[in-house]
Point group: C2
Chain length 158, copies 2
Amino acid sequence: EEVLVRGVAFNRDEAQLTITGVPDQPGVAHKILGPISDANIEVDMIVQNIGTDGATDFTFTVHRNELEQAKNILAETGKSLGAKNWSSDDKIAKISIIGGGMRSHAGVATQMFEALAKENINIQLISTSEIKVSVVIDEKYLELAVRSLHEAFDLHEA
Amino acid sequence: EEVLVRGVAFNRDEAQLTITGVPDQPGVAHKILGPISDANIEVDMIVQNIGTDGATDFTFTVHRNELEQAKNILAETGKSLGAKNWSSDDKIAKISIIGGGMRSHAGVATQMFEALAKENINIQLISTSEIKVSVVIDEKYLELAVRSLHEAFDLHEA
Ligand SMILES: C[C@@H](O)[C@H](N)C(=O)O
Ligand SMILES: C[C@@H](O)[C@H](N)C(=O)O
């Protein structure tokens, strides 16, 4: 069926923080994000996958200029939670395909993944909503990724 | 700052599939989702967190009535990828807070996580966009979760 992909959105001003091996129990997500939110740090993506053996990992992205503060806060949380580890990456870029409803979502996401795979670009993080598929990649591939996605979806670069 | 939370959305007609320990290399996301998309199976959430030791996990949700077919396809993919494991869960509910821009996103998400934590509801999966924070929980807590979120955000249940 016809997919209405409206465009490619991207930014290079975010950084990602990950805390690994946190207890997969009620209250933990709040313990991690609460202090970040209390510090008035803006958060964009929040990604958590299914836990294994009672633990899981939690990743979120912030503006790069708030990374230092977020790192300090996360380190405190990591210690108090007894997390396995915590880390950050400020060399990321976020890129999204906008458009398509759920009916075409799998097709749009597949096409996006294929375009990136063809350029040997590794997908580090995936988070979706009905109208948007967002991935995080190494920022050095951003221009290449944007170009190949415009080609894959037959869009004209602005 | 003022958060414009517009409502709580939820559904109980999805099932989640997870494939664990897949190589965190270009092309893998496409290998996983391609066959699902080729079978015309609709996909809603797609979640992948940061990899560790060169491997990561990939989770997606489908309509419950397409779960059997999706499971069969995923099993084939799992074997050909040499994945660690694959599993599914049809006792989930998806619940989302709609509204708020990035500026209030961390606050909205924190408030959502806190409301669920207060009811001892475990958050299994988290995926967000700028205007939406979606989580997956055990379906048996859906009514309780919807009620506590309406209270937490001072919304009137429809
Ligand atoms: C890991 C974290 O999301 C936990 N499961 C919680 O409910 O808070
Ligand atoms: C795991 C999967 O997303 C892989 N990193 C890829 O780029 O396809």
